[in-house]
């Protein structure tokens, strides 16, 4: 109860607090915009407001989704600080000066100093992105250096008498002449900028070490940073030429928090590599086309001295014609640069196939190759065995649970038939594309592995069945030995004894006594003959001499239950006939002994080059082939002939035993 309570409070806290911070930021920015309106550049006013709100929004989103990740909170807090100190305070300073309100100096001072906490925010962000931990313990001094630099630079900057242009009064009201502000500022800024550079370097180090998800996250951030690093200087240079260029700066400033937010929360949904790819391709193409256009206009304009309409048309034509081939060419170059990993991975797979063909590699190694090339050590390749409808790994072990939530799967098909499945960790679109092309390239190896596995399994099955057949033979011999020793042999011994006794009687007793003993002995002889006949019948079904139909009829006659027999008159291979006969025997025995059937149908018929033997009873059902049982032995006998045995025996629904034996055309 208490636990649920605290959990609810925690949830409230992680949504409420970021929301509150975002709200405060929005309110501050609205105030800032209202205060600044018409007192400074409208564009700047709105741009800074939007960037702070975007940052606060991104921070709030991350903080609410991943309250354990400090990046979200960093963005929230520093966006609010920026809104209050940078924008709202600036607005107050300007408005107060214009309207004669008090607190001009405080507003101006805060706005002047606001870039320092912003910088500290970025130092921490660079160091902690994306997981909230330093890349390693060795980076621990960097935030401290930044903090010390910050502490020194704040008074060094804000209390310096040199700050004059920032204040309407032309004088820093908080200047303290006694402070060595120059020294403080130079030491502080050295540390501060050092920490900023180090934190940027930490991102590079992190990117180089990163793999998988983290790499994708860093790519997002790096893309935004790269854009900012191009856009901000460009803005700076072209500021005076076209004021519209400010838009670049605005997008650059908002892009960074947005990229961070996407990287942390949504990096799997969008493929950064495609965005980078397209940006680079179209950016380059645009630049080159613009240059071509400019050059064409210039050359034509000076050479031909004709009207600008013609020149423009010609330049446009050149650009239009050049567009497609240029784009293809650039795309090609970019592909080779950016998709090097994919290009090489596919090459590696092709090399592996080459090694496979040359006999230097085993097809089962394809799983290891896939693991290595996709950098997923848990990747698993399972192959499909159509005969048993099973998925097994490359060693033939049936694959365990395939419904793994952590992993995704790709079905492998060849000629429209399933041959396997690749289980891999949840991946980006790009990784999936790579994996698919690798699977496509390595399909042959997968198919060969599958055939290997199938062959090994069938071989193992054949070996097992052969062992069972040999055991069944041994068991049969043991039974015969018992029958002979305990049956016929004992009987013969007792007959011999009786004869000896009669002999004794002839010497000592009357002839009648001896005759009676001899009669007993003859009864024993008859029994012995019967026993031997039964024994011989078990060895080989003599009834089969006349064919399957008479043999089946003979079987039916020996059973106390009514048996309906249908069997063809034609003759089959002796092995097939014997198997059919034993199936009939076993089926009838089971039906009478175990299933308590009252009606049995025994049939054999030829169908599509197979002899189909069925024994159907109306008994209790529920029969299963236990190893070592008669049914299991039959199954082996049928399998040895290349046939199949099916038992359909639901409890209470009778038993149907069906054997299909190939018997030629």
């Amino acid at each position: 109860m208490r636990r649920r309570h605290t959990e609810a409070v925690r949830r409230l806290y992680v949504t409420l607090v970021p929301g509150l911070l975002l709200g405060l930021t929005v309110v501050s920015e609205v105030a800032a915009v209202l205060l600044c309106w018409d007192l400074t550049s409208r564009f700047n006013t709105v741009m800074y407001a939007v960037s702070a709100v975007v940052m606060a929004g991104a921070g709030a989103l991350v903080a609410a989704r991943q309250p354990g990740n400090p990046i979200g909170w960093l963005f929230c807090v520093f966006a609010l600080l920026n809104a209050l100190m940078g924008d709202a305070a600036l607005g107050w300073g300007l408005r107060a000066a214009a309207e004669g309100w008090p607190g001009v100096a405080v507003g101006e001072w805060l706005a002047t100093t606001s870039w320092l906490p912003s910088g500290l925010g970025w130092i921490l962000t660079f160091l902690l992105f994306p997981d909230g931990h330093l890349p390693s313990r060795r980076w621990l001094p960097v935030p401290w250096l930044g903090a010390v630099g910050f502490v020194l630079a704040v008074p060094g900057w804000s209390m310096s008498p040199d700050r004059t242009g920032e204040f309407v009064s032309g004088r820093n009201p908080l200047a303290v002449e006694a402070l060595p502000t120059d020294a403080l500022l130079s030491v502080g800024m050295t540390l501060f900028i050092g920490a900023l550079l180090a934190s940027a370097a930490s991102l590079v180090v992190r990117f180089r070490r990163s793999t998988g998800d983290e790499r994708q996250q860093l790519k997002w951030f790096a893309a935004a940073a790269a854009y900012a690093s191009v856009a901000l200087p460009t803005t700076f240079v072209l500021w005076s030429v076209t004021p519209g260029i400010e838009l670049l700066a605005a997008t650059a400033i908002t892009a960074l928090p947005l990229a961070a937010c996407v990287a942390i929360l949504r990096y799997r949904l969008y493929d950064i590599d495609v965005i980078v790819d397209r940006t680079v391709v179209y950016g380059t193409v645009t630049g080159m086309l613009a240059a071509t256009y400019g050059l064409t206009t210039l050359v034509l304009g000076t050479r031909l001295r004709t009207g600008s309409g013609w020149v423009t048309a010609a330049a446009t034509l050149v650009v239009a014609v050049a567009f497609r081939p240029l784009r293809d060419r650039v795309q090609d170059v970019v592909d080779r640069r950016f998709h090097r990993a994919r290009y090489q991975a596919v090459r590696r797979m092709a090399d592996f196939l080459e090694a496979l063909r040359a006999g230097r590699a085993a097809p089962e190694e394809v799983q290891g190759v896939l693991r290595e090339l996709t950098d997923d050590p848990r990747l698993e390749l399972v192959v499909f065995l159509p005969e048993s409808q099973l998925y097994v790994d490359v060693n033939g072990v049936p694959a365990a649970d395939q419904q793994d939530e952590q992993r995704e799967r790709i079905d492998v098909e060849r000629a429209g038939l399933p041959i396997g499945r690749v289980l891999h960790r949840a991946a980006t679109q790009q990784d999936q594309t790579l994996l698919r092309s690798l699977i496509e390239t390595g399909g042959l190896a997968i198919e060969i592995s599958r055939l290997h596995v199938e062959l090994r399994r069938q071989l193992a099955e054949v070996q097992e069945s052969r062992a069972r057949i040999v055991n069944a033979g041994t068991e049969e011999r043991r039974r015969l030995e018992r029958d002979l020793h305990d049956g016929a042999q004992q009987r013969l011994v007792s007959i011999g004894l009786a004869l000896r006794h009669a002999q004794h009687q002839l010497g000592t007793s009357t002839v009648e006594h001896a005759t009676r003993t001899l009669d007993e002995a003859i009864v024993e002889v008859k029994l012995a003959i019967d026993e031997l006949r039964e024994l011989a019948r078990g060895l080989s079904p003599a009834q089969l001499d006349a064919g399957l139909a008479p043999a089946f009829l003979d079987l039916a006659r020996r059973v106390s239950v009514r048996v309906e027999v249908t069997a063809p008159r034609e003759r089959f291979d002796r092995g097939i006939e014997a198997a059919a006969y034993f199936i009939g025997c076993e089926g009838l025995t089971n039906a009478v002994k175990h299933a308590q059937a009252t009606s049995i149908s025994l049939s054999a018929r030829r169908e599509d080059g197979r002899l189909i033997v069925t024994v159907i009873d109306n008994g209790i059902g529920g029969a299963t082939p236990v190893p070592g049982s008669g049914l299991s032995g039959l199954s082996d006998r049928v399998a040895a002939l290349g046939g199949a045995l099916r038992i359909d025996s639901r409890r209470g629904a009778g038993t149907t035993l069906t054997a299909e034996l190939p018997c030629g055309s």
């Binding site: 030995e481 020793h485 004992q490 011994v493 007792s494 011999g496 004894l497 000896r500 006794h501």
Partner: protein, 215 residues
């Protein structure tokens, strides 16, 4: 001689009973299984127990185990195990106890030999089926000391192993006892075995030699 028979097959049991009765012996009890043997032996105090090696419930070696148990309880009791087949592992160590016999069932048709073997066992002697002895003697390597025996000495050794005394051997081979004694002396020297006047110890020595040198 007072005899207890344990044999699960009714006809054979009856036949054995008649055989002993015809030979002038007294069958004091006939049993269908081995379980009640110790109790029956204690109550009837027989001279000889004839037991089938395979009996209910598992039909494997119930008789042999019962025989071992009986010899443990009554060391002087004669126990004759009847078997359908040749088997050497159980028998060799049991026969070294003395007062023990192991015969194939068809031996009973040689009534006189069978009865004398039974009497020998009851007196504390041994009886080992000729087939078992032949198995022990057969399939030997070329360097075996047995190869040095003459055919006659071999026959004498075989009969000794079966448990026969010099007198019995002489009677079987239609030779004089003195001749047999000479053969025995020779073969003991050839096999480097200590001779013994005691029939039982002699059998034991022969069997020990045979089973120890068995290939």
């Amino acid at each position: 001689m007072r005899i207890v028979i344990a044999e699960d097959q009714v006809l054979l049991r009856a036949g054995l009973g008649r055989l002993f009765a015809d030979g002038g012996h007294d069958v004091v009890a006939s049993l269908g299984d081995a379980d009640s043997l110790p109790a029956t032996v204690s109550s009837t105090d027989p001279d000889l127990v004839v037991v089938d090696i395979r009996m209910p419930p598992t039909f494997t070696d119930e008789g042999a185990r019962a025989a071992r148990e009986l010899k443990r309880l009554h060391p002087s009791l004669g126990v004759l195990v009847l078997s359908q087949h040749i088997e050497t592992t159980h028998t060799i160590d049991l026969i070294s106890l003395g007062g023990f016999g192991y015969l194939l069932k068809d031996r009973v048709l040689e009534v006189d030999d069978f009865l004398s073997a039974a009497e020998r066992v009851a007196r504390g002697g041994s009886a080992l089926d000729p087939h078992v002895v032949a198995t022990l003697l057969s399939g030997r390597r070329g360097d075996d000391p047995l190869a040095a025996l003459t055919d006659r000495e071999r026959t004498v050794l075989q009969l000794m192993a079966e448990g026969l005394t010099n007198t019995g051997i002489a009677k079987r081979l239609h030779l004089s006892e003195r001749t047999i004694e000479a053969h025995v002396r020779h073969l003991f020297t050839k096999l480097d075995m200590p001779d013994s006047e005691d029939d039982h110890r002699r059998v034991r020595a022969v069997l020990a030699h045979l089973s120890a040198t068995q290939p």
